[in-house]
């Protein structure tokens, strides 16, 4: 396959970026999208040119490190797929592909396609946990949890924190990310003690980071590589109301 790539290049956080055109020849349909970029980079490196910076690590769709906007869609055209698991057989010979970084005020560009997502860590730090120190835990079977509840909590806990939901949202809202963690812990008995405090602190932190609000468009759910449902956001809203009424 031969492809034309239009890739966002930006030397640093405070300089203007632009789309640069590259030709990718010899693309195999079995390559992953990132392997295709590896090959382009290998060509640039051999010529002594600065390689295109992009993040990735596990390359099996679980670490949440990769994230590119491919033809306007975070993680590209396949549903429930991170860009590292997107394969070139999804494209046609002769296609032009535009590749951009996540774009959100709270995710400033570090270089090229790499953004700073530390705002997500600060949201978790604000309350996305159960405050139990190591050492004093009761026996694991002392807390029975119904299989249905446990499965539902797991559905939410599956979030990989990649930030595609923010990149897809016209408001750059972190609601899907946040609501996944809030749901996971609010559903389980272990999360009850801090249930009210957690939702208020996390929402407050997200506002401070510059994430927008939710206007129920559902783009986040459509691009989420783990297909986290938007019903989590509804649950978070209920949790928030419940918390502020009671506090």
């Amino acid at each position: 396959m031969r492809l034309t790539l239009k890739i966002w290049r930006q030397a640093g956080p405070n300089v203007a970026g632009r789309l640069v055109v590259y030709a990718a020849d010899h693309v195999s349909p079995d390559m992953s999208f990132l392997e295709m970029l590896d090959v382009v980079n290998e060509g640039l490196i051999k010529k002594g040119e600065d390689a295109i910076a992009f993040d990735s690590d596990c390359r099996e769709g679980i670490c949440g490190m990769c994230g590119l906007v491919v033809n306007g869609i975070p993680h590209g055209p396949d549903r429930g797929t991170t860009v590292c698991q997107l394969h070139m057989r999804r494209f046609k010979d002769g296609d032009t592909i535009t590749i951009e970084p996540w774009r959100a005020k709270a995710f400033p560009v570090v270089k090229d396609l790499v953004v700073d997502r530390s705002a997500f860590d600060r949201i978790i730090a604000a309350g996305g946990y159960v405050s139990v120190n190591c050492g004093g835990a009761p026996d694991g079977n002392a807390i029975p949890i119904s299989k249905d509840v446990s499965e539902l909590a797991m559905d939410s806990a599956a979030c990989i924190g990649c930030g595609a939901c923010v990149a897809a949202c016209k408001n750059a809202s972190a609601h899907l990310f946040m609501s996944a963690k809030i749901s996971h812990l609010a559903l389980l008995p272990q999360g009850q003690v801090e249930r009210a405090r957690r939702v208020v602190q996390m929402v407050t932190q997200a506002d401070a980071e510059g994430f927008g609000s939710c206007s129920n468009e559902g783009e986040c759910e459509a691009v989420c590589p783990k297909e986290i449902p938007i019903s989590n956001i509804a649950r978070m809203t209920r949790e928030y109301l419940r918390a502020v009424v009671r506090i």
Partner: protein, 637 residues
């Protein structure tokens, strides 16, 4: 050098308790006066940083990724072992200990392994309390499965994402401590050197990967939890940024590297599809619980699997190992796959894969139940291969997955360099020559949650640690050294790609220091590696500048270290003229082709001392003693 493992004596069941009592404590009010440097945020690093923060120490925690939640522990799928005996099927701490020593082919330290088995039960409790959504039964209790060669059901799991959920549990505890300001987080930092002052580990030099600045951090002890060295092989199931750099640089500063030849090849990976491939994807070996492994009986049989009648299939694991069948340990399953492919009975376009067939499981359990158990793995397989494993058998082939070797540590998880502690996959201690399935998560969390919080206190309380700042000459010298290494890489200005050279190194290691090794193959590797290293330093191209995010520079530094480390790996494999666990020397096998240990000559830990790049390292031996589990020929027949 005399290696003192500090293994306690006495009845094995009471060793850890007694050791805990005998260790010195740090007064609670004094803990905040100590600064501890933790490198890595995987299960071992994050759990260590979080627990040490909870105790009140001042913790500095570093990782190369943009967030601590990315560490590669996250990719572990299958589960975590614990001797809870919730299933009433005869499990016990002693049995888990016994299985782990035997599974490690009698090349691990009994005291360490017993402690690991004891702590396994506390890990589950801690993780449940954090809200880790382990699988449950309808009655609400925790579910278990049998996994990776165990005859009891002691594996706890969260769908196929156990590593993810355990890591997020540790990450959340870590972020709570960041919020409490006991832990300061330093993401996008790569450790480039260890700083020794008066012979003790007192700090690290890191490169800030965002702006390229060389930064210095001082502390009272350094804890490395930087993972294994599987990416030396280029293709592995490890994350693409996984590397040996931190451990290797510590080794060059005097820390001994133990048993590097113990590498684990995982039997259930998706086969290689072409030259472009950047990594291999593992599918949880829990698949072997219900999938049946087979190849055609006839060489070169290219018919589609559905057209090969039952009578012409060889379910070789079931045939050769009737009592364990498809659940034999990883090394046995991997070697057998290689063997049938070498015989010309491999399947797929490359002929380098075997079938893992779910037809019977689907008949027995129904598609829905198979989907519930393995849905995410089937989905992943489809994404990568474009094949539907509900209809055609999966194709699998072994790949490098985990490395049992690592920096040498004593019972307190301290290396021979005072103050330098090593946890998780980065150390060598608990898995011997072969790790059992669902035991890596157990070890990482045991080290971080339940061992280091005790042993670090003992070190701090029993060592004079005068105040050291980063103005000390040792810091300046190490920082200059790191900067020179970077300048040297950028100055080569050659024409060859970094990846190309890494791929070449990987091929040498896979072919000659891979699943089956011989004296000739190892000598071939030892002859080839220095040449490739010279080639790298003469012709690699590392573009870009040192003062911003430069992934080519990061990668080149890691490959440069692998080009040194690879020799050590081959030296160790050559020196160990026996087969054990993941290390298979063709010269040492039983008449029916199983690994044959040489207990009389090799019942020791090989701990290597660095003597200069390209120089033969010096071997130090720690003899292993077996008082509880007496070495026998492992048999899974």
């Amino acid at each position: 050098m005399k290696l003192d493992a500090k293994s306690p004596s006495g009845p094995i069941a009471g060793r850890w308790d007694r050791h805990k009592f005998e260790m010195k404590l740090v007064n609670p009010a004094n803990k905040r006066k100590y600064t501890l440097i933790v490198v890595g945020t995987g299960l071992a690093g994050a759990s260590a940083a979080a627990s040490l923060g909870e105790l009140g120490y001042n913790v500095l925690n570093f990782c190369i990724q943009d967030s601590p939640r990315r560490a590669h522990s996250i990719a572990a799928q299958g589960g975590i072992n614990a001797a809870k005996n919730y299933q009433n099927d005869g499990d016990s701490v002693y049995r888990l200990f016994y299985d782990t020593v035997k599974g490690g082919d009698y090349r691990s330290r009994e005291s360490n392994v017993y402690r690991l088995a004891q702590l396994s039960v506390n890990i589950i409790d801690q993780c449940v309390a954090q809200g880790v959504p382990f699988a449950r039964e309808y009655g609400g209790l925790l579910d278990n499965r049998s996994f990776g060669g165990a005859q009891v059901s002691r594996t706890f799991y969260a769908r196929g994402q156990t590593g993810q959920q355990l890591l997020l549990g540790a990450y959340q505890s870590l972020m709570r401590q960041v919020h409490e300001k006991t832990v300061t987080l330093f993401p996008r930092r790569e450790m480039l050197d260890l700083v020794l002052v008066d012979g003790k580990a007192r700090g690290i030099i890191v490169r800030n990967l965002t702006n390229g600045k060389i930064e210095r951090y001082a502390g009272d002890a350094v804890i490395l939890a930087t993972g294994g060295y599987g990416t030396a092989y280029y293709l592995s199931t490890n994350a693409v940024n996984a590397n040996v750099t931190a451990a290797w640089r510590a080794h060059k500063r005097g820390a001994l590297f133990a048993n590097p030849c113990y590498t684990q090849i995982h039997p259930t990976c998706i086969p290689v599809s072409g030259e472009h491939q950047s990594k291999l994807t593992l599918m949880s070996e829990s698949l072997r619980n219900d999938g049946r492994v087979w190849v055609p009986k006839k060489k070169g049989d290219a018919r589609p699997p559905a057209q090969i009648p039952e009578a012409e299939r060889d379910y070789y694991l079931e045939r050769k190992y009737p009592s364990f069948g498809n659940l034999v340990p990883r090394d046995v399953a991997s070697r057998n796959a290689k063997q049938v492919c070498d015989e010309g009975r491999g399947v797929g376009d490359s002929r380098l894969s075997v079938y893992l067939d779910f037809t019977d499981a689907i008949k027995r359990l129904g598609v829905d139940e198979v989907k519930e158990k393995y849905g995410n793995l089937f989905h992943m397989y489809k994404k990568i291969t474009d094949e539907d494993a509900y209809r055609v058998p999966m194709r699998i082939y072994p790949a490098i997955h985990y490395t049992m070797g690592g920096l040498w540590v004593d019972y307190n998880l301290m290396s021979n360099v005072p103050g330098l502690h090593v946890l998780g996959e980065a150390n060598f201690s608990d898995h011997g020559a072969n790790r059992l399935g669902a035991s890596a998560l157990m070890q990482g969390l045991a080290d971080g949650y339940f061992v280091i919080p005790y042993t670090i206190g003992h070190y701090l309380a029993s060592s004079p640690l005068p105040k050291v700042t980063t103005d000390h000459d040792a810091f300046k010298q190490a920082a200059d050294n790191a900067q020179q290494g970077i300048n040297r890489l950028l100055a080569v200005k050659g024409h060859r790609g970094i990846r190309e050279i890494h791929r070449e190194l990987g091929r040498i290691l896979w072919d000659d220091v891979g699943m089956a090794r011989t004296e000739a193959s190892l000598k071939r590797a030892l002859a080839a590696i220095p040449g490739l290293r010279d080639e790298f330093w003469h012709s690699v191209s590392v573009p870009g500048s040192p003062d911003n995010l430069n992934q080519s520079l990061e990668y080149a530094g890691r490959v440069a270290d692998y080009l040194e480390f690879a020799e050590l790996l081959a030296f160790d494999a050559l020196d160990r003229r026996e087969s054990c666990g993941g290390h298979f020397r063709e010269e040492s096998q039983t008449p029916d082709g199983e690994a044959l240990r040489d207990d009389a000559n090799f019942t020791y830990v090989a701990a290597w001392e660095f003597k200069g790049v390209g120089r033969q390292p010096e071997l130090h031996k720690e003899p292993l003693e077996f008082e509880e589990v007496h070495p026998t020929q492992r048999s899974y027949k």
